[in-house]
Subunit: 211 residues, 2 copies
DNA sequence: TAGATTGTTAATCGATTAACAATC
DNA sequence: TAGATTGTTAATCGATTAACAATC
């Protein structure tokens, strides 16, 4: 599959297509046209076709798209046909929320280890996974071939832990700490800054009021 | 303050400016130029100036921007000088993570009530806030002048609860459930779809591999 | 005043939408 | 075959970057 730098905007829309197609598939819908999908998702049919064509022709003229096929193809594009090994750093509520979220596992994201600074938590099990001390983190990544580190710790420790993750050979960091990590270029970072999301909402509320 | 439809992209960047300015302020930095900030944040100086000028001239030629002043101004734009009243629906791990996050409160986001379907949780207190039954939700919103409903429940219940929130007179919904809510136009929705965020990361990992 | 740096206009770049020929 | 709908090119729209005059 060739690809000449697909824009972030396109990629950001793929999971949403995937979700809608999954729902259609569950409803046993066999085919869908870009126009039907467009009405369902409130985006233009043109955008759907344009987006999908970045990855090759999944549809068929006069017919539309086969739901199950397109669902699988987008899944492959998103790498959901592969297993990813994660470690979770920070066994607080947020960490536990993620660890308990069954759907991640269903999509191939397997939490292999959980780490926390607090020794009172060590040995405790969350969904069968033991909480380990930070000292073991670097070794653990190496030994268990971990792809993704999930940072659910306060921002103070985040930078230091991100360096440990990098030393261990992680490929990507899913960062919930409210800092921008400064990692080498080949390490991928996806930030989830919840307070920034809330501030956006706050902005919108105040504007809406004025009208 | 006039404003002619400021784009979402600009607004999405404001909280990040706010964060960096807060840090500079804590370090007792008095002034900052768009170029200094640009290097710190890895964005163009041009973009910073362009963004800020949507809201009026906060800087001064030959000087730059006063950190404390700009911090406050952006805070006001984001509505952080005002109190917002929230209710949290879903007292699971994610809900508890949010309820325990002190910084929200510091920024004026006050959790007034927590609701859950599970009656075993009723009466339990999270950071001093009692968990209440869903039946009381609509009344509670009206009575306590609630702005924002936070949905930290599985997607099955989310649509129904969002309707209750709307009936109660909520202004905005911070939605962590993996569905798109279909609410009236005047209700604002900010989605946090964690699994979609993780899928983006997965996509990037698989691309990086191929090179 | 001279130097620095903003505010703002103009140029570029990229993403979205529209249109339509290709084709199932 | 005729009708439908894609794949794809072209047109539009918007966002980012560059440039520079205004001004502190």
């Amino acid at each position: 599959m060739e690809h000449k730098e697909i824009s972030k905007a396109v990629i950001a829309r793929l999971p949403r297509y995937y979700r809608y197609l999954g729902e259609l598939k569950d409803e046993k819908v066999e085919r869908v046209s870009s126009m039907e999908l467009s009405e369902l998702m409130h985006v233009t049919a043109s955008q759907i076709r344009q987006d999908l064509n970045h990855f090759g022709g999944f549809g068929q003229q006069g017919y539309g798209y086969n739901v199950a096929f397109l669902y699988d193809e987008i899944g492959k594009i998103l790498g959901l046909d592969q297993k990813h090994h994660l470690v979770l750093i920070g066994a607080g509520h947020l960490g536990q929320a993620l660890a308990n979220y069954v759907n991640f596992e269903r999509r191939g994201f397997l939490i292999k280890g959980i780490f926390d600074r607090d020794e009172k938590l060590h040995g405790m099990k969350i969904r069968g996974i033991e909480v380990r001390p930070m000292e073991e983190l670097e070794q653990f990544i190496r030994k268990h071939d971990i792809d993704i580190g999930v940072l659910t710790i306060p921002k103070n420790g985040a930078i230091e832990v991100s360096e440990t993750l990098v030393r261990g050979g992680i490929k990507a960091i899913w960062n919930f700490a409210h800092v921008d990590l400064n990692v080498p270029d080949n390490i991928l970072v996806e930030n989830v800054h919840l307070s920034e999301s809330l501030m956006k909402l706050s902005y919108m509320i105040d504007r809406a009021k004025e009208r």
